[in-house]
């Protein structure tokens, strides 16, 4: 029941937004829907922390601790993103576009929720593909040449990638059909039943399948070398859309990979999946580090930093121990919160300054102290300084990786992360410091308060990891027994 409610609320709000003429309260309704998703997510966490799963629709939908944790991440970031709806839409001239925007946002959130709550690998695939369709129009929302170009690249690359993931899913199904000698009549795409037969799956087929899945879902995660859509799409879309895409969509695609990796681990042993994840993870880190050094656009800078963090997640997942997976999940939450704070404040900066060039923004702290402070603290959280939660999760991931004998991978990560630290702080120094007259601008308390709150949550989680510890433990054990 709880599972179905979580899915229905954003769906219904999306339909309402399409049905009624645009009024500002529709924007607030969408925020209320996100708050309720977060509340349902927390309720699911409470139910599933002990290790039981909540099922719905004849086990098509199934929430275990991992799914519940993902619902919380989606809920948190969508609260931050949808609180800005009325504000963003105030600049919109056509009421029809505003209604479409709200409806697409809710559809996007519903698709992500469906992806993390389903137990069926096929429906997981359909949901992730559907996020591509919903977000394409959100990326091209500004209807400029650049926006259309970005959404064209986005939809072509992601559709091709996700098509490969479909082939990978079919191969897993094929292997499950041929467990043992006789054809298996009860085989299905259900994740729990696949995990049961996983040790008997054919090795050659699963190897092929997991490679296709890493390539396919990896395109959506933004792993190098399939990352080229990411900076364009995140740079061109409205700020709340960038926040949702970077903060949670990438994490949801990564969640799909975690589920698939669990099957491959059980079928093949850890060595082959580990090698795959290490290759894409380290490659993403190296590519992100090299593209960040000379970056001229601050939105694209944030986008490439997402590539970096997805790389770190992949290396963490490669280690694969329960501690590593718990750190990976915590990192997803920390990255989602921090990145949405940054994209939303970057949206305000570009609105106020009229440019997204790093060189075009000077002495932000003196001229616009609130925005400058939010952006600055956000960047400090992003590069992994304590007391923010990204420091804790990066540190824990490194520890878990060394435990698994991956010290050389940790060394490469450390070099890349330090390079990225240096480039981001250099870019930030250009944007933030310097003298200048204080500018009078419209009140931004509506933006500043929730964003400061989100950074506060990062600090609380980073210092005490309360109240997440037992939940993370339970969630990690779902895919890392």
């Amino acid at each position: 029941m709880l599972v179905l409610l979580t899915l229905f609320v954003p769906l219904v709000v999306g339909v309402v937004a399409l049905a009624v003429p645009w009024r500002p309260w529709v924007g607030w309704l969408s925020a209320a829907s996100s708050v309720s998703v977060l509340a349902f997510g927390i309720a699911l966490c409470v139910k599933t922390t002990s290790g039981v799963a909540v099922v719905a629709l004849r086990a098509t939908y199934r929430a275990d601790a991992l799914s519940a944790f993902m619902v919380v991440i989606i809920g948190t970031v969508s609260v931050l993103a949808t609180l800005q709806t009325s504000r963003v839409m105030a600049h919109e001239t056509s009421p029809r576009h505003a209604s479409t925007y709200v409806a697409l946002m809710q559809a996007f959130i519903t698709c992500m929720l469906s992806a993390v709550l389903t137990a069926n690998l096929g429906i997981l695939w359909v949901s992730i593909e559907a996020t591509t369709i919903a977000t394409t129009f959100l990326v091209s929302h500004h209807r400029t040449r650049k926006a259309f170009e970005a959404s064209w690249k986005y939809v072509i690359l992601c559709s091709v990638g996700i098509a490969l993931a479909f082939l990978g899913t079919v191969l897993i199904y094929f292997a499950a059909l041929h467990v043992g000698t006789a054809s298996n009549a009860t085989a299905s795409l259900n994740w729990t039943s696949l995990m049961k037969v996983a040790p008997h799956l054919n090795h050659g087929v699963i190897r092929f399948a997991i490679a296709l899945l890493v390539l396919g879902y990896g395109t959506k995660v933004g792993f190098a070398p399939m990352h080229s859509w990411l900076a364009d799409a995140h740079g061109q879309s409205p700020a709340p859309v960038s926040a949702l895409m970077s903060g949670v969509l990438l994490a949801v695609a990564f969640y799909a990979l975690l589920r698939c990796k669990a099957i491959a681990d059980a079928a093949l042993g850890p060595a082959f999946p580990r090698a795959l994840f290490l290759v894409v993870g380290l490659l993403s880190l190296i590519v992100a580090a090299s593209l960040l050094i000379a970056q001229r656009d601050y939105k694209r800078m944030l986008a490439y930093s997402s590539v970096e963090h997805m790389g770190l997640l992949a290396v963490g997942a490669a280690a694969g121990s329960p501690l590593a997976i718990a750190a990976v999940l915590l990192h997803m939450l920390g990255h989602g919160l921090t990145k949405s704070v940054l994209f939303l404040s970057a949206g305000e900066i570009s609105l106020a300054e009229g440019t997204t060039e790093i060189a075009g923004v000077k002495s932000l702290l003196a001229r616009r102290p609130v925005l400058g402070a939010l952006f600055g603290w956000g960047l400090l959280a992003l590069v992994g300084l304590p007391p923010f939660s990204i420091f804790l999760s990066e540190f824990t991931m490194a520890r878990a990786e060394i435990d698994q004998g991956l010290w050389w991978a940790v060394a490469i990560c450390l070099v890349c992360v330090s390079l990225i630290f240096a480039s981001i702080t250099t870019h930030a120094r250009h944007m933030l410091f310097g003298d200048g007259p204080r500018e009078t601008s419209a009140p931004i308390a509506g933006v500043a308060v929730p964003l400061a709150g989100a950074l506060g949550v990062c600090v609380v989680v980073g210092v005490s990891s309360w109240p997440l510890l037992s939940l993370l433990h339970a969630a990690a054990h779902v895919v890392a027994p």
Binding site: G122, I123, N202
Partner: protein
């Protein structure tokens, strides 16, 4: 249907899917490319239909009908309308000329047979033996996607990849469960609608849907 007719029908229709993929590499006129895609959709639905008739599988028969409606009628019609906006549009400057792309197509087919050995080894039945043709179709679709510059040809490339995957799915597992098939077909249809909208929008702004003019975003 006796076994030899079944095998002959299956081999013929499966082969046709790959042949039409290769013919899109050969033709340069955008309208002709869309026609090839239509024939490929028909062949794919025949594959599903033959399998359904042989296995007396109602779900698969519904899938075959659905594939026919979406991939042989609706999607090619949507693309043909875009192509009609500019009836003489041709692939004037593909990144690779026709002979070279046909040779690359041949190489890709060999590669497809090489990588699919683990699949055919697991279940050496008539349909599984034909799976490499599905993989080859996927690879040819990729070639089309990366070497062509017109927006419509890129969409066709994407759809050939999708048809190849559909072919492999039918041959390997006689189709995934119906609900998943329904979802994925719907997704494909929506992607085409989305792309068509983008093409017409970009077309308005760029005066021709040529991707060479999409050069604004870069690092």
């Amino acid at each position: 249907m006796n076994t030899s007719t079944y095998v002959a029908c299956l081999e013929l229709s499966t082969g046709a899917v790959l042949v039409f993929a290769l013919m899109t590499l050969w033709r340069r006129q955008v309208r002709a490319i869309v026609t090839m895609l239509r024939f490929q959709g028909v062949s794919l639905s025949v594959v599903a239909g033959v399998l359904a008739a042989h296995q007396h599988d109602l779900g698969l028969a519904i899938t075959a009908a659905m594939v026919f409606v979406v991939k042989a009628i609706v999607v090619p019609e949507l693309l043909a309308r875009v192509a009609r906006l500019d009836p003489h549009s041709r692939e004037t400057t593909p990144l690779m000329n026709v002979p070279a792309s046909l040779v690359s197509g041949a190489v890709l087919i060999v590669i497809a047979f090489a990588v699919s050995t683990s699949l055919t080894a697991l279940a050496p039945t008539v349909p599984t033996r034909l799976v490499p043709i599905g993989v080859a179709t996927v690879l040819v679709g990729y070639l089309m996607l990366v070497t062509r510059r017109r927006a419509v040809s890129q969409i066709v490339g994407l759809l050939i990849v999708d048809n190849g995957i559909g072919l492999a799915t039918f041959l390997l597992t006689a189709g995934v469960p119906l609900v998943v098939e329904l979802g994925s077909t719907l997704d494909v249809l929506l992607v085409v609608v989305v792309l068509r909208l983008l093409v017409t929008n970009v077309g308005h702004r760029l005066s021709s849907p040529d991707l060479d003019e999409m050069r604004e975003l870069h690092d």
